[in-house]
């Protein structure tokens, strides 16, 4: 509360002090920017789809950020209100009040933040604090961060604080203290003429430590001390050479018995590597990772979304179309997984052909040109695979303490996911574009529990056709036709979506999701949802009504399960 009062005072005094100087020339009063978001949802019962009505019958999530900036100084607050939180939102969002506040001073050389902040070291394998408000994910740091750049190309960073765990009309931080140090060297910044060199090299190293008071744990006949300080360290290299880029990071964590690993004392380890090559019209990306026992939280007894210190990205592509994105989205299996992802992007362009050319070569070129079209055709092929790690379990005391041994960096024998997708997009004319996407998916619902109706491997094929028609000046129509075929789980699905836009202010959309292949004829339900929206610059209002399927709701690759619902939804976002 003291910090809050201090901040309010600061916020009040800063502009007032400046206003007082208004007689003078060149006075900069600073600026205030902010944003507001709200989601309101009403609930009606629908036994057919399993939609429940909470006692309050409607729910509201709202938040607003306000940042005051004057020169190098900035300070800000975020107010959050959950009256009550939307169904499916994590239980750690209750009540209303200030959930985030900070003051920051930054120059090119120094950057000091006190209060709340988000940050990431390297790829996040060792430390990432971030937010995804629409999903109820927030592990903001609360403490101190200092960034120092003694010379061009060298950056040192120190972080000390606790992480947001809960919000109940006030910010509640997790139990553990998180301390981090990071150094990054970008060699090309040392000399001005190195900046444009073909070879660009950045190296970095991090150290992160968590302190949490602990006592003993009992396992079988053993009584074990838990480590109160748990350290992790990581090294990374990012190398660019012309069109090539290699990124690699290695992370190791000392013994950290926790709820995710069943309180074993085995050390954690992770490797993440990415190689890409691209030139105009072509791109290639190969990504591999192995994570073993790398769950790292600021409280050893927590699970799921609670207080993660690090971030282990999923290996599959983030799918955007409704059926692919919400029915079987893949998430990293936190205990351990090995996987890779390979992707090729190619733009097929029309080939030049002299007029009146004849012969086999010329007719082949004509045929090719007819296929790729005047504007060319883009093709993307992506394949991802992940399995468990290759281990042998220990037994007896060694099993209770160390758990298992890892035999290699390669695949274990349990399949987690296979995801092949091919995307072809072609512009037919100034006013008409089409995109076709095919997916083949093998998805283990035991290890990524996205459904309660089926346990095992789901084999699915999906087809999506998206059409963009420009009807007239300002008027356009977007159509999505999607199908998913599977013998498992809930069977086949189809989705049809029409979105009509009157640029730049209005849109109307209707979506129908139909579970036509469900074995149970009563469950072959249409989920129909309509939305009308108004956009004016940074202000956006959308009103929707209809039925939503229970499923997984993802934003930018992070997902949460949402229950079935039936009712109105109003969303409003604005910034200034």
């Amino acid at each position: 509360m003291k910090t809050l009062r201090f901040l309010i005072t600061t916020l009040m005094l800063a502009p007032l002090a400046v206003l007082g100087q208004f007689g003078g020339q060149n006075s900069d009063p600073g600026s205030v920017t902010g944003n507001v978001s709200l989601i309101w949802q009403s609930y009606a019962e629908d036994s057919l789809i399993g939609a429940q009505v909470p006692p309050e019958q409607s729910a509201l999530n709202a938040w607003a950020n306000l940042i005051y900036t004057k020169g190098n100084f900035s300070a800000g607050v975020r107010y959050e209100a959950y009256q009550n939180a939307l169904l499916g939102y994590p239980g750690r969002f209750k009540g209303q009040g200030i959930a985030y506040r900070f003051a920051r001073y930054r120059t090119d050389q120094y950057d000091v933040t006190i209060g709340n902040f988000y940050d990431q070291l390297g790829s996040g394998l060792i430390f990432r604090s971030y937010e995804e408000r629409y999903l109820g994910v927030d592990n903001a740091m609360d403490g101190l961060r200092v960034v120092f750049r003694p010379i061009n190309g060298i950056q040192l960073k120190g972080i000390y604080g606790r992480q947001r765990l809960d919000f109940d009309s006030r910010l509640i931080n997790g139990e553990g203290v998180v301390r981090a140090a990071d150094a990054e060297v970008n060699f090309n910044q040392f000399k001005e003429d190195w900046a444009s060199k073909k070879l660009q090299v950045t190296l970095g190293g991090s150290f992160v430590s968590r302190f949490q008071t602990g006592s003993q744990i009992e396992k079988d006949t053993l009584v074990l001390e838990v480590p109160e300080n748990v350290a992790a360290y990581a090294g990374r290299a990012n190398i660019y050479y012309g069109n090539w880029n290699l990124y690699a990071e290695y992370v190791r964590k000392i013994n950290d018995p926790n709820a995710d690993n069943d309180y074993i004392y085995r050390e954690g380890e992770g490797i993440f590597a990415n190689l890409s090559y691209s030139k105009p019209g072509f791109g290639f990306n190969l990504n591999g990772k192995m994570v073993d026992n790398m769950s790292f939280r600021s409280d050893r007894d927590l699970l799921l979304f609670d207080a993660p210190i690090n971030f282990i990205p999923a290996i599959t592509k983030v799918h955007t179309y409704n059926l692919a994105a919400t029915l079987y989205p893949y998430a990293t299996v936190i205990d351990g997984e090995t996987g890779f992802n390979v992707e090729v992007f190619k733009k097929f362009k029309r080939k030049d052909l002299p007029e009146g050319a004849t012969g086999f070569g010329a007719s082949m070129k004509r045929f090719y040109n007819a296929i790729v079209g005047k504007y060319g055709t883009n093709v993307t092929v992506n394949f991802a695979a992940a399995n468990n790690i290759d281990t042998t379990g220990f037994s007896g005391v060694e099993g209770a303490v160390q758990g298992y041994r890892r035999n290699s960096l390669g695949f274990g024998d349990e399949k987690f996911v296979r995801d092949l997708n091919v995307e072809i997009s072609r512009k037919f004319s100034k006013n008409f574009k089409a995109k076709y996407t095919f997916y083949y998916l093998e998805f283990n619902t035991n290890t990524t529990p996205v459904t309660v109706d089926f346990k095992g491997i789901v084999y699915a094929n999906m087809h999506v056709l998206e059409l963009n028609n420009r009807l007239a000046k300002h008027h356009s129509l977007r159509t999505e036709l999607q199908t998913l075929f599977t013998e498992q789980d809930k069977g086949d699905w189809g989705t049809v979506l029409f979105e009509y836009s009157y640029s730049p202010h209005w849109f109307v959309s209707v979506m129908d999701q139909y579970n036509f292949g469900n074995e149970d004829p009563d469950a072959r339900v249409h989920y129909l949802f309509g939305t009308i929206g108004y956009i004016n610059g940074p202000h956006r209002l959308a009103v929707g009504y209809g039925k939503r399927r229970e499923g997984i709701f993802c934003v930018g690759g992070v997902c949460r399960a949402v229950p079935a619902s039936n009712g109105f939804e109003i969303t409003f976002t604005s910034s200034f």
């Binding site: 009040m12 502009p15 971030y130 971030f311 963009n468 009157y502 690759g557 976002t573």
Partner: protein
């Protein structure tokens, strides 16, 4: 609570005296070079800053459609477009291969933990800002529909 509202009201009214400017955040571009965001604007020419992600279909549609007009806009207004990717580590590695394969002529910056996005009050993508020659935000759009490029052209013409 009253105190807070009062404080917010005062701050708000004081702040409204100036236009939104571009905060200074250090980001990396798609070839690994460090860029100060404040250095990109206020150089006597307008700048479009567009926040996007590889998983955001309307964002890609917007920036792909702009490629048709970009040369004309550059000739007529001297405008530069900066496309800021908010892809996090899961998808950030796809940014360079993707932008090269579709041949975007824009400057690409990476904002993996949304430092710049947060400072610019970006709630969700696409969010596009038009910044005038002096570095002030003069127009923004938190959406993309086919045809919004006509609105962009009108806004550029007003500068």
């Amino acid at each position: 609570m009253k105190k807070l509202i009062l404080a917010l009201a005062i701050v708000f009214s004081a702040g409204m005296l100036t236009a939104q400017t571009i905060p200074n955040v250090q980001l990396k571009d798609a070839s690994g070079k460090t860029v100060n965001t404040a250095d990109l604007v206020g150089k006597g020419k307008p700048v479009i800053i567009s926040f996007w992600a590889t998983w955001c279909s309307p964002c890609k549609r917007e920036l792909n459609n702009y490629t048709e007009y970009y040369e004309d806009w550059q000739d007529e207004f001297g405008v530069e477009l900066i496309a800021v990717s908010v892809d996090d580590q899961r998808t950030a590695n796809r940014v360079a291969p993707y932008i090269n394969s579709v041949e975007w002529p824009y400057t690409i910056l990476l904002d993996p933990n949304r430092d710049f996005g947060r400072a610019m009050q970006v709630n969700n993508v696409p969010h596009t800002f038009l910044v005038d020659a002096e570095g002030n935000v003069v127009w923004q759009n938190n959406n993309y529909s086919d045809g919004d490029e006509e609105e962009m052209y009108e806004q550029l013409s007003k500068l």
